[in-house]
Amino acid sequence: MINNTPPAGPASAPEAEPAGGMTRRTAIKALGATLGAAAFAQAIAPLTEWAENMSLDEYLQKHYRELSPFDLGVVMARMEQITKEETGVDVHIGDYRPQPGVKFGYALNLSVCVGCRRCAKACHIENNHDRPSGNSYIRVLEMEKGSLDLAKGRVNYDKPVPHPDKFYMPVQCQQCDKPPCVSVCPVEATWKESDGIVVVDYNWCIGCRYCEAACPYHARRFNWTKPQVPAAEINPDQGYLSNRLRPQGVMEKCTFCLHRSRQGKLPACLEACPTGARVFGNLLDPESEIRWVLKNKRVFVLKEEVGTQPSFFYFFDE
């Protein structure tokens, strides 16, 4: 069944049109092209507004691990300057490197955690999180006693704590030894450092959110818009790979407060804990408290079956 009808519709191209028709048609085409170009310029106008806020240096900046110490110093000075111009606040951005012989581990005593969520709040303030969304790297689950089933947990509990029938389980980045978030990143914008902390280069991330899909612990956050922190509340002690003010459209995550922990201080969430449920330290130091916990308590990790090998441990006292 071959259809041999002559060309119809758009196919009847104006090959045989009179010259007058051609000029009229050409004129209309030119008009259409002009209108189209004008509409195109209008359509992309927001892009030009957005591009005005970005410098060429920022755009062409290299990956963190390819920046020389001098270049990184220039970059950090530029960022401090921009924060000063935008907010009037003098911040200090430091490049805190992992210390040799250190691998950080974190343990959390579920018997004493009361679910007050002060750790989550301390994280919010310490890490210059977006205020309107109330972002934090820590989510605290109110769990049913007698079950570790996350499906029975709730994060939006609003009754006085601790409830006698519940226990409380804060969850944050588990700093996995086999981090799926790192494997999936197409541009190596996130990686695991020698002290075990998984970091993000906010100036290299392309914002595809594949890592957010890959993480089994809901530990990653995306900057859906430019984070807003009132000038008076900005924490000025900032790390390049941790709590500096983040750009729009990139991923971020818990870094065990590396701007503190790599200087011998404790993470903000631990200092805020009123019950002493949190234990932080160097897994390579046999005398450390974290090693004592691992040796003397029956610890477990979250979702062991997915094979991520967390550096974050949970345990019960009794």
Binding site: M1, I2, N3, P7, A8, G9, P10, A11, S12, A13, K29, G32, A39, F40, A43, I44, A45, P46, L47, E49, W50, M54, Y59, H63, D149, L150, A151, G153, V155, P180, S183, V184, C185, V187, E188, A189, W204, C205, I206, G207, C208, R209, Y210, E212, A213, A214, C215, P216, Y217, H218, R221, F222, N223, W224, T225, K226, Q248, G249, M251, T308
Partner: protein
């Protein structure tokens, strides 16, 4: 001498491109109306995207709980449509079905348009699209071979290149009134067959490789992707062939349509079997890892935004299967078109929103946060669809003269050149 030949080729190629531009911008008033509609929709989408880049992805309905949505859903579907285009090529080249040969370019052009759309859907999903160069070798850091996304970048661009080469070569040779040299395109056609399988397998591995998302973490995902691709692709092509016959004056033999119908008959049934297998495995044993399937099909703790969608998709799939199985369906254009539309829409839901969104609900900490696409997302989606259709229309318009030849291979030198405005004289010796 050699220089002269290069120069001749260059000017000839420029003339070819110019003719393509002329062909693509000339037509009836209906054609102009169609192109203006698509342009307007594309520009609306472009504007919505510009706003999204300026203000951030906060203008979408996505969140840290459901971090992929309509864009990635459409991306997945589009990769399938591109892979499905190869179903014109396999019968023609692997089974030497000569009547299919004439129309393979339709499947290849569809693949080009669908790949462009799928790349667009990834770009609009990015938080920092201007940093795309971070993926480039040397200046950027390309996490290959560990990241499946880098594999996807390679296979999608490779497939785009392959199909552009095949179509471009055939069109250019026709412009020069020369018989295509099979060694310059047939190996690429065979390569494109395997490549088509690879693009959808790799895209499935993007998802099935994530241990933390039980809904995706199944070995059946890649086979299901391929089967649904071989429903959506041929269904689209069948309708496209009818449109080309009706509006483009392209002679469409009964045989290619029948071959495509036979393919869809089988793939529709296989897909139903696979959906049933997944459902049985998920629901019979139960457990926390099946929560996403419960959410998708029945709702979870009062959250049920996707339930009407997925049951519509199931219904469309079943109805389309019944319609396709009717004897003599290939000879009933209206009935067949309806069946194709149902099958296509069903797959769009099932492999789009029905696959991407429920993997995030409940979240990995079992929080239930639902997702509703925002107006901006719908605008951007419509814009990319319009852009893809615009590209497809333009390319088909350029290819119309080839398609109108019942058997281009035989008619090439004489009939084409008699009417060709190219008037090329020295073109026969350059190979």
């Amino acid at each position: 001498m050699n220089n002269a030949r290069v120069a001749e080729q260059f000017t000839s190629y420029c003339r070819f491109l110019w003719k393509a531009v002329c062909d693509a911008t000339d037509g009836s008033w209906w054609f102009y109306a169609w192109m203006i509609l698509l342009t307007a929709l594309s520009l609306t989408g472009l504007h919505a995207w510009a706003v999204q880049v300026r203000d951030g992805l906060i203008v979408t309905g996505m969140s840290d709980h459901v971090s992929w949505g309509l864009y990635i859903a459409n991306f997945t579907f589009m990769v399938g449509l591109a892979a499905g285009g190869v179903m014109m090529v396999i019968p023609a080249y692997l089974y030497h079905d000569h009547e299919m040969h004439d129309l393979t370019i339709v499947g290849e052009l569809l693949a080009v348009a669908a790949i462009v759309m799928s790349i667009c859907f990834v770009v609009v999903d990015m938080g920092r699209p201007e940093r795309f160069w971070h993926m480039f070798p040397i200046v950027g850091r390309f996490n290959w071979p560990v990241s499946m996304l880098t594999w996807d970048v390679l296979v999608l661009n490779g497939y785009l290149g392959l199909n552009l080469h095949i179509c471009g070569y055939l069109l250019y040779k026709r412009f020069r009134c020369e018989r295509p040299n099979s060694k310059w395109y047939v190996p690429f056609v065979y390569l494109s067959i395997f490549w088509a399988i690879s693009i959808h397998t790799v895209t499935a591995f993007l998802y099935s490789g994530l241990g933390g998302r039980p809904l995706w973490n199944t070995a059946l995902l890649a086979p299901r992707f391929l089967v649904t691709a071989f429903i959506a692709g041929p269904a689209f092509i069948i309708v496209l062939l009818f449109i080309l016959r009706r509006f483009g004056g392209v002679p469409i033999a009964a045989r290619p349509v029948q071959v495509l119908v036979n393919i869809v008959r089988v793939t529709l049934l296989i897909n139903l079997l696979m959906v049933a297998s997944e459902l049985f495995t998920e629901l019979y044993a139960g457990g926390a890892h099946t929560a996403s399937s419960h959410y998708l099909f029945f709702g979870l703790h009062g959250a049920n935004a996707l339930v009407p969608w997925i049951w519509s998709a199931v219904a469309m799939g079943i109805i389309a299967t019944v319609m396709f199985l009717r004897p003599g369906v290939a000879g009933r254009p209206v009935w067949l078109t309806l069946a194709c539309v149902l099958a296509f829409a069903g797959i769009w839901i099932e492999k789009g929103m029905g696959l991407i969104v429920p993997a995030f609900i409940p979240s990995t900490l079992h929080e239930i946060v639902e997702y509703f696409p925002s107006l901006v997302e719908w605008q951007i989606m419509a814009g990319i669809w319009a852009w893809g259709l615009l590209i497809l229309t333009v390319m088909l318009k350029i290819a119309l003269p080839i398609l109108r030849q019942p058997h281009p291979e035989e008619n090439f030198p004489t009939r084409v050149c008699a009417t060709s405005p190219a008037g090329n004289t020295g073109g026969h010796s350059h190979l």
